[in-house]
Amino acid sequence: MNKNIGVYVCSGCGIGECMDAEQLVALGSDEGGAAVVRTSPAFCLEDVQLIRDDLDSGAVDSAVVAACSHRVNADVFSFGTAFVERVNIREQVAWSHPPNDPETQEIANDYLRMGIVRAQKAVAPTPYTEAHERTVLVVGGGSAGLAAARDAARAGYDVVLVEKGASLGGYAASLYRQFPKRPPYRALAPIDVAGSIEQLQSLPNVRTLLEAEVVETSGQPGRFTVTVRRDGADELITAGAIVMATGWIPADADTFDAYGRGRYANVVSSMELEAMAARGSIVRPSNGSPVARAAVVVCDGKGDDRHRPYGGNVSSLVALKQALYIREQYPDSIVYVLYGDMQTPGPYEYFYKRVQEDEGILFSRGDIRSVTENGDHDVVLEVESTVVGGPVRLSLDLLVLSEDMVPATADAASGALSLSYLQGKELPTTKFGFADSHFICFPYETRRTGIYSAGSVRQSMDLAASAQDGSAAALKAIQCIEQASAGAAVHPRVGDLSFPDVFLQKCTSCGRCMQECPFGALETGEKGRPVLDSNRCRRCGICMGACPVQVISFADYSVDMLAGMIKAVEMPEDDEDRPRILVLACENDAYPALDMAGIGRLQYAQSARVIPVRCLGSVNSILIADAVSRGFDAVMLMGCKAGEDYQCHYIRGSELLETRMQNVKETLDRLALESERVTVAEVAISESDKIPAMIDDVVQTVKEIGLNPMKGF
């Protein structure tokens, strides 16, 4: 399809003083075949109207604006549904290369050529708008689930709450008191589970299903189909989004083997103590007699790597609370609190101070050497490294061990959504086993779009935090429903209406796209070919990068388009001073870093030609082979950090790149080219200062190994 393209060359912000705008104008009309070409000293001001008029009059249907980076003035250069391509000749040309230099001019010329190709090949996406279900499904009726259901309902959405137990409330129902809620943060607070349940039941748009479990979840945001089983009968529920608030379970009892739990009658868990406190009868379980001496141990996981590499969020507070329980019932008792580091952040410090003021509660740091029992079933504790040295021997009526909170997902039978996704039944978890987001800035974003986790299944937390978490996850569910009904992507490419389109006739059913999608958006269809659940897709393009036969593309982003842009670069023949380096830069971090290099007026090699990509994972290896066979002397893949603390917004982009690089090396070997020509450069968004050296290194490599011998073929 031939489009009527308008080319608009801005000369403001130093562009006009750096390069010959007339050359760009000529290029636009002659080589680029633009229907209209205009210049302005500042297109972002009054002259933006010229572009709008051209679009309104139908003189052009797409605008190529050669000016500043797309990262600024997005609202100015936005004209309804018209395709706008921003050619960055400010930050990445005028501000980062010497003025009035033919090589600098050549960069701008190449970028304009690339922009015109992109505008020619891009098609306005037609969004997928077939998923309109607005019900929020909440799985789990504990603190987090109750809050999520209540808040979603109060915000005007229908809610179905599924709880596997016979009643709502979760663990809160079996706790005696909660941590202080109000200033001066000294007194334990009552727990009003009945009030929360009553409040929920008063909402007309909440349907609660007790003794029910999810046996299958399929579909996508805006149209999940969930099978709920109750009394042996299955019911199909459609939901727009899901909040998973399945909570926690106690760790296996053998976690506390060394502390005598299960072996000695008077060693109890914190949950057992809660139950005793709630009944008002804290006693020695061995004989029901009163407690005069007790110890509460903060098992915060430190120095105890047997079970998990992290501590509890609440075990210190639980220990403080329970020391008070015992003291409340037995004013003459002595309670030892044994701990490593007391974790009482924020105003909980005041609570800690209040417990310290109690003369019957003795605090000591200490490592437990042994727990044994004497003939009277007293618990005998040997503690080392206490404040008074050690070892110290304590004979106790009761030893309380803080319960180890493990996310419900750890038990496959206890909280699964039973996802009918090719990539597995479970919600993917972090390295700690929590169904949590990997990102500090973007909580609740799991790897299953439209499913948001809340409460202790996400991180161990207290009741107040769980309720807060439920509210927040409910918002994410609502937001996803709103975006899905418009066919728009959620975080991070919010509002993107495009989605991958598979040209099935040429698909070889290799399954790579289905396996590599970080979000499980592609399922197996007829003849093993992929079927897309559009609203699961986050538009990263990793499937496009994965496809060995290049049949996956987006309306405005494709292998063909990127190949066209690569081809558009004018390749100097055999000039050692003019190598060409293709930089494929991730739009999330690397491209902004390149912009910031320009803002800081850092200069880098004029041989680089930058193309932003959605994710390095979207780079199909054929593009690299293409670039090399077109004569590029080197290719840099500039992206974010891989590994355990990866920064890829699409989870797997940088990781997948490593395996794909293997293919690339093989391709280069086949072409008898040096594998050093293709490199991966890891750059954080804040590291613009490192960019000049990174590019110079590649230029140096080219100098050493020589220009690409394929040049000119």
Binding site: G12, C13, P41, A42, L45, C68, A74, D75, D151, R154, A155, R182, P183, K302, P309, Y310, G311, G312, N313, D341, M342, Q343, T344, P345, G346, P347, Y348, E349, Y350, K353, R365, S385, F432, F434, F439, I440, C441, P443, Y444, Q468, S471, A472, L475, K476, E482, H491, P492, V494, G495, N588, P592, I599, G600, C640, D645, Q647, H649, S686, E687, D689
Partner: protein, 429 residues
């Protein structure tokens, strides 16, 4: 996004006022706007980002805050439901949930929305000012951009130092007519249905703690200054060196609870400073492979999975955590070094460490400890906003509610946005 530098846009009842444009305010704004609500951010500085923009890295991933800000700014750029007022403060909030009348005071920027960010004004400006973004460790011109990622990308003039019309060089240099030295403070009304207080925190004034030497010795710095030192766009270009002579840091001492958990200063625990120092220990080690780091603490507060981060950092044999309270910091003028004296808690012995750099892990003070708007808002004794019926229709988020880390602030902000949305739905349908 609408960068409301000029005249105010329209306002509706189905909208949320967000006071503060740091990570909590930005998060609440983006989350609510993408859920279909109109939001108005009122930020007192010239650009958004707040305290996180000043951080070099986040714990525990040691990733740059700009990464998350970029995505959030990208989301804001594409969303016309988000309105931003910079250099603005909320003076008054009256009314009831669903129907609040707000008065906003906006200070003059002296730069209008014709600014393209070209930097020509800075090239001619003759006046320097201490760079508050870098805690005064370097200077900017009187017309400035807060930092490399400043958003909106529009310059601003500091009228406490600018000679305004007596100089006017920038007016002549600006090709776009973007500088307007006649701008005045303006006050305007806004109608909203709910309010989110995301007013954040400010660093505790370390000079108040006499025995720790801050303000007396230039190599005693605070944790927030340390972030700027390590930041690639900071005053030293990311070189972690001694402030006195620019020499490398061979031994660094971190002083935990520099004011926190002490009823003379801050009675509460700031929650993030232990993790902050563990993180900053990695900055020192990255800058100098032979450097030694000592962290003096009372309790190493690394709750939950952060314990994993703590272990990873302390696996470095050159980083030592010492359970002990620092008594004082003095200077050994002959050696040009600082001497940190502390008590080892377990052995009750006095210890003394010679250091090139001492970092005070100071705490977070609620911004609302002064300059509160006239409104029905409940505060606790430490000026944190209470999340309860004492503030009807007004919800705290992030460090306005209590001292929290970034991860908690973003969760909190999302929850606050939900509360604001349902308040509006309940009141107005």
């Amino acid at each position: 996004m609408n960068e409301e530098i000029k005249e105010t846009g329209s306002s509706t009842h189905r909208s949320i006022l967000i006071v503060g444009g740091g990570i909590a305010g930005i998060t609440a704004a983006v989350e609510a706007a993408e859920s279909g609500y109109e939001v108005f951010i009122v930020e007192k500085e010239a650009s958004l980002g707040g305290r996180v923009a000043q951080l070099s890295k986040y714990f525990p991933k040691l990733c740059p805050p700009y990464c998350g800000l970029e995505i959030n700014f990208q989301r804001m750029r594409g969303n016309r439901r988000i309105h931003v007022y910079t250099l603005a403060e909320v003076e008054n909030i009256s009314g009831v949930p669903g129907d609040f009348d707000v008065t906003i005071k906006q200070n003059p920027r002296y730069v209008n929305d014709r600014c393209t960010g070209c930097n020509k004004c800075v090239e001619v400006c003759p006046v320097d000012r201490p760079n508050t973004f870098n805690f005064g460790m370097d200077t900017t011109k009187a017309i400035y951009l807060s930092h490399a990622m400043a958003f909106p990308r529009k310059y601003a003039i500091d009228d406490s130092v600018c000679q305004l019309t007596d100089c006017g060089k920038c007016v002549g240099a600006c090709p776009y007519g973007a500088i307007d030295l006649s701008m005045e403070t303006r006050t305007f009304p806004l109608k909203v249905g709910a309010v989110i207080m995301a007013t954040g925190w400010k660093p505790f004034d370390a000079a108040r703690i006499d025995n720790l030497g801050f303000g007396r010795y230039s190599d005693v710095i605070t944790n927030v200054m340390m972030e700027r030192l390590a930041a690639p766009d900071g005053p030293t270009g990311g070189r972690v060196v001694r402030m006195s002579d620019g020499e490398p840091v061979n031994t660094a001492v971190f002083v935990q609870c520099a004011g926190q958990r002490d009823t003379n200063y801050l009675g509460y625990c700031s929650g993030i400073c232990c993790l902050g120092s563990l993180k900053q220990a990695t900055y020192i080690r990255e800058a100098n492979e032979n450097a030694k780091v000592f962290i003096f603490y009372i309790d190493l507060r690394t709750p939950g999975t952060y314990g994993f981060f703590s272990k990873r950092v302390l696996d470095d044999p050159n980083i030592t955590a010492v359970k002990g309270k620092v008594a004082k910091v003095v200077e050994d003028p002959g050696a040009g070094k600082l001497v940190v004296e502390a008590e080892h808690i377990l052995s009750a012995e006095k210890v003394s460490v010679e250091a090139d750099l001492v970092v005070l892990a100071t705490g977070m003070v609620a911004s609302m400890s002064d300059g509160r708007p006239n409104a029905t808002i409940g505060y606790d004794a430490d000026a944190f906003v209470l999340p309860d019926e004492s503030s009807p229709g007004i919800f705290p988020a992030g460090c306005a509610r209590g001292p929290v880390d970034v991860a908690t602030a973003t969760q909190d902000a999302t929850a606050a946005a939900m509360k604001a949305m349902q308040t509006i739905h309940q009141a107005r349908g």
